[in-house]
Structures are given as structure tokens and as C-alpha cells.
Amino acid sequence: MTAIGWRGVFMAVVRREVALAMKQKGDVLTPLFFFVIVASLFPLGVGPEANLLLRMAPGVLWVGALLAAMLSLQRLFAADHADGSLEQMALSGTPLTLLVLAKVLSHFLLSGLPLVLIAPVLGIQFGLDARSLGVLTLSLLLGTPTLSLIGGIGAALTIGVRGGGVLLSLLTLPLYIPVLIFGAGAVEADAAGLGISAHLSLMGALLLLSCVFAPFAITTALRISLE
């Protein structure tokens, strides 16, 4: 283990996840298209009135991103559990928390980051101006890693459980609410001229808090699931 060190292991796990995702691009693209479709359904549902859409845009885009991020959560541990590599990770000399953190980071890179990048395009459809688009992107950039961290707990708890997908959403969505409130709130606060520093600071705090606690919760949950 000392041959490559913990940092080497961390990077190896991230590289492995990215390589696996590149082999099956559908896994990365499906949640992304889901996000696009959900965001396009709202104008069809409520009508094309520009003012209404502008008002709804931050909430709709955030809820869409949240659901899309949740959809890809199942992928986080399921495949590794199915082929047994998760057990090998748990048995290896490297702390499982480190490996978990690497997997969560890759989940953010593969599912959170694409959402952040495509959100401004969808924002334009809703008529958001350049400034709001910037705030939206920034809030998503701060929020999606938190979603990956919190969602990882749910994903670890539901490994190999009956009806895992629906159950996962039932467990995770209530815990996502603060991120949603501050994320969508940042865009609205900026539009109202209230400034965004309070919202973004709180989102940063949530991110730090979940960075500290979530890896341990995920590790514990994984060990319970692997017993």
C-alpha cells in the first residue's frame, strides 16, 4: 500500500470511475437528458408566459437538477457491489472512508458537474439574464457536491435492498431540502437585489459540514450493508 500512497489510491479510484463511465456513456448522459426533459416539461405544463417562467426558473431548474442527481445515485455503489469489488475495497488496507470520498468525488464529476454545465442553457430557455445565469451556475456548483455526499448515505444504505430506487428517493429527498432552498433562493435573492453572499455562505457551510460527516456515515452504512 505504501508503494503508491493514499493519494495515489484516491486518484486511482477516481480514474477508474471516470474510465468506467467513459465506457458506458449512457450512464452519464441519461440523467443529463432527464434534467433537460424535466426542465422542458414545465413550460409545457404551465404555459409559455415569459414572466411566470422567469419567476419559476430557479426553482424548476434546481428541482430538476436535484432529481437528476438522485437518479444517478443508484449507480454509485450498485455495480461495484454486484461484481464484488466493493467488498474488496472494504477489505483492503486503505481506509474505506478515503475510497468512499473518491467515489463520491467521481460521482460529482460525472453527474453533478455536467448538470452545472448544462443548467445555463436551460436557464436561457426560461429567459434568465446573464447575471442570474451566473448565480444559478455558481449555486449549482456549490450545491451538487453536497447532493452527492448526502445522497451517498442513501445509496449505501439501500445496496441490494428490495425496491432500492424508489426507497432511495424517499430517504434522500427530505435531506436535500436545505440545499434546494438555499440554491434556488440565491438566484431569487439576487434577482430581488438582496445579494447572494448569505445564501452562498450557507451552501458552503452545508458543503463543509457534509464533507466532514457524510463520508463516515457512508462508510458505516456500507459496512452494515456488506455484513
Partner: protein
Amino acid sequence: MNNRLANWFRFASPQNFYRLAGRLWPLFAVLGTVLAAIGLWMSFFVAPTDAQQGEGYRIIFIHVPVSWMSMFIYLVMAAWAGLGLVFNTRLSGMLASALAPTGALFAFLSLWTGALWGKPMWGAWWVWDARLTSELILLFLYLGFMALQAAIDDPRRADKAGAVLALVGVINVPIIYFSVKWWNTLHQGASVSMTRSPSMATTMLWGMLIMSIAAWMYAIAVALLRVRGIILERERHADWVRHAVE
């Protein structure tokens, strides 16, 4: 000292606790019934009519106790679940699972009575008030806990997985509460103030307190009864269960 400790841990064994719970639950049930009778009598006949809200306010004698208990039970449930995770005691997990349905029931009742109270007072069954919203989320947390435990077949794994979820939920409850509160103050206009008249008659306060203790006793009685069922179900292969059931 050592003796006393040993005594306490004696009840960590499901077999001993089954008997203890069997002896205790009627006591709490009687206490709960008597207190509820006194509390209801006070709230309907002794407490004065509210100057602003008329007779309709009397639902707070149900609403406030069940809301308090729904939050309190979540904490107790998480504490038992955490104990089970740390000490690996089987009974702790069983107690947590036994508490969850009662907590969910109280959270549901709190929303239900809140709606009944809100309609005459605010003219709406539901407003996106911070307290209502966070109570709703609390109900979701209970449902998630119960759904997770129901989906896992191995009871020991279900206990531990539920424990992790309950503890994560406990850390999140204050965060959710404050985020909803700030979200609510941001969206002004729709919000209706839930603050009651500042000076509450002493009899009202007493009625509410007695009803809260009645709800508490009810929760303990029901949880003990339910934990007896869970113990029987999980220990059904043990000899003592066969004798106990006979």
C-alpha cells in the same frame, strides 16, 4: 455499584425486557387514559374561551401535545438507534422500530389538527408556514425510516441501517428547520403568523401540559406493547418464547 449496573443491563436482554414491558405497559396505559380524561375535561370545560379565536382554539390541546411528541419521539428514537449502533444491543434497535410508527402518527395528527385549526383561523387548510413545512418533512423522515426498515429482510441489518438514517436525520432536523424558516421569511406575503396571543391563561397552559403528559404516557405504553410484539417475532425460535406464548 457493580451490582446495580448488572441489574440495568439485565433488561437489555429481550427475554427479561419482554416481561418488564408486560408489567409496565398497563401502568402507562392507565396513567395516559386518566391524564387524557383530566386534560380533555380541563380543555373543554375549565379553560376559558379565547378572546380572539373563540372556541375553535381548543384544538391546540391536541395539536400542541402531538406536535411536541412527534419531535421528541424522533430524538428518543434516534438515541435508541444510536445506542444500538454503539453497543450492538439488539433491544435498542427494537425499541427504535417500535417508536417510529407512534412518532409518525403524531406527526400526521399534528398536520391534521393543524389543518383543522388553520381553516377557521387563517381561512386555509394549508399555508407554507415554516412550522407546517418542517413538520411535514419530519413526517417524511419517519416514513423514510420505516420504509427502509421494511425493505430490509435481515432484522439486524434493518436496525443498523435505520440507525444510521435516524442519526443523519437528527443532524439534519435543525438544519431543515432553520432553512425552512429563513426560506419562509424570504417569501413574504403568503406567510401567516402562527404566534398565539402572548398571555395564555394558566388553565390553558395546564390543560396543554396535562395533555402532553397523557400523550407521552400513551406513546410509552404503545411502544412497550409494540416492542413486545417485535421481541416475540424476532425471538420466535427461542425456547422461552414458546413457553411465554403457551
